[in-house]
């Protein structure tokens, strides 16, 4: 053996088998990368949607604060007639409770409580959970109700639609519900406030226990909105009468000028309302307490309107 030249020992190093990866390793790593790419893509899409939800919800609350018209307490509630209800008598699936008086759904199905990150998703503590509780409490008050538990955010992701179009998805269900339930009096879209640092605004104490506050939203983008408004006023008054301070009142879009093209499905039924129960910083327990109180208030209001 003799001393090698520079080029020779470089050659020696290069030709070594050690510099060739095992074929099996190469294939495995390729597969792993494809898997990671897929995972990353779905993660990004979810994030994209949350990024879109976030400002839009902020915008709703902000717009609300800026242009709120708190409805004057003098507007006397009048009994309303279900002029929107279809009289169609077509055959329906057996599981449909035709006596349903309250229809509950969640357009923003993934608004959650007790999440680690802002606008995070908690599978077991979200507005859908609150909707279920409300349904259960209404049943205890012997009010027939139906819950639409469709995960509209999931459908939106699947269909790759823009977030602003999410009401188109829930609209279909509400339309169908109007047909399916001729006795329906309330169609509640349960939401949750999205503001950060608003815990004090969205929380109050009732009988020594902290509960989430309720807020109604009425859209004036359709001609018959005053019917919806009356219903909201009745509920708002009843709530505050029974549990002082629990309702934050009603928010509306500006009376004239700007008109949102979105009616939030409220043009479909005079009892269609958007309800914010609590906010980002409330706990599910506080939400549940409110759901129970809301159920009691609904019972009383509906008793005034036998149909």
């Amino acid at each position: 053996m003799r001393a090698r030249t520079e080029q020779e020992w470089i050659r020696l190093l290069k030709d070594g088998d050690e510099l060739k990866p095992d074929q099996e390793y190469v294939d495995q790593t390729r597969k792993k990368l494809l898997y990671e790419a897929r995972k990353l893509r779905s993660k990004r899409e979810k994030k994209k949607v949350w990024r879109m939800i976030w400002p839009s919800m902020m915008a709703v609350s902000l717009a609300a604060v800026l242009v709120v018209t708190v409805v004057s307490q003098t507007e006397a509630p009048k009994p309303h007639s279900s002029t929107y209800s279809s009289l169609e008598t077509a055959s329906k699936p057996s599981q449909i409770d035709k006596n349903t008086k309250v229809f509950i759904y969640n357009t923003h199905s993934r608004e959650s409580f007790e999440t680690k990150e802002i606008a995070g998703y908690n599978r077991t503590k979200n507005v859908q959970t609150v909707a279920k509780d409300l349904g259960r409490y209404l049943k205890q008050q012997s009010i027939p109700n139906t819950i639409d538990d469709k995960d509209y955010v999931k459908i939106l992701l699947k269909k790759d639609m823009e977030f602003k179009d999410i009401y188109k998805l829930s609209r279909k269900s509400v339309k169908k519900a109007v047909k399916d339930y001729p006795n329906v009096q309330l169609m509640l879209d349960i939401h949750r406030g999205a503001g950060v640092g608003e815990r004090e605004i969205t929380t109050t104490k009732i009988k020594g226990k902290s509960v989430a506050k309720v807020q109604f939203f009425v859209s004036n983008s359709h001609p018959d909105y005053s019917e919806n408004l009356k219903m909201a006023v009745e509920l708002d008054h009843m709530l505050n009468e029974m549990y002082p301070g629990i309702s934050r009142g009603i928010i509306q879009e500006k009376k004239d000028g700007y008109r949102n093209s979105l009616s939030y499905n409220q043009d479909l039924h005079p009892g269609a309302l958007m309800v914010n129960i609590g906010g980002l910083e409330n706990t599910l327990k506080e939400e549940k307490r409110t759901a129970k109180m809301l159920a009691t208030a609904i019972k009383r209001v509906l008793n005034r309107h036998p149909n």
């Binding site: 790593t29 790419a37 897929r38």
Partner: protein, 187 residues
């Protein structure tokens, strides 16, 4: 199900892109890391880690920058970063190169080349990381001076100077080893 020729294209753009980059550069990355660390299992881990980093950084990749240099700069970063952390553990493990010595009986000629190669590999692991990186990129990965400069964020003249120093250092180390080897084998 959709009609037509959508079946072929069941990978997303991102999946296709990363597979393409991997196919083109996995050998370069693996060779660099293998030479740098001298450990097969570490080279495998870090090569995978490199491409996962590439995948994550793809959205921010500036396409005016040469792809090969970009990928290798990530490899360098991952290797130096991770290797620093893992070094301590590996001090107590037999290196992959050392394990090769104890393989079965072989023709003496083959053994001699093996041993010589091990000398070079051992010497390479002894020089400082900056020398090692420049040497591997230039000599093993056969990058141009310009490409090497891009990977390491050096000026071209710094690459030239560092490469010459690395070669000189390696040759000194090899000479010592060769002398030792000669001494041992004649005894």
């Amino acid at each position: 199900m959709e009609k037509g020729g959508n079946l072929v294209n069941h990978y997303s753009d991102e999946e296709q892109r990363i597979a393409q980059i991997y196919d083109r550069y996995y050998l370069d990355v693996y060779r660099f890391i293998m030479c740098f660390t001298g450990h097969k299992s570490e080279a495998e881990d870090l090569t995978q880690e490199t491409f996962i980093q590439v995948l994550k950084s793809l959205p921010t990749y500036n396409s005016s920058y040469p792809l090969k240099s970009w990928v290798l700069s990530i490899a360098k970063h991952v290797t130096i970063d991770q290797h620093r952390r893992r070094k301590f553990i590996h001090l107590f493990k037999d290196s992959y190169f050392q394990q090769l010595i104890s393989s079965e009986k072989s023709p003496s000629q083959w053994m001699e080349i093996k041993t010589e190669r091990q000398m070079v590999e051992k010497a390479l692991l002894k020089v400082k990381p900056t020398y090692r990186a420049v040497f591997i990129l230039r000599a093993i990965n056969e990058l141009s001076i310009k490409e090497t400069a891009e990977v390491l964020g050096y000026s071209e003249s710094k690459v030239k100077v560092t490469y010459l120093r690395a070669i000189k250092k390696l040759q000194t180390l090899l000479h010592i080893e060769w002398e030792e080897w000669k001494h041992e084998s004649t005894n």
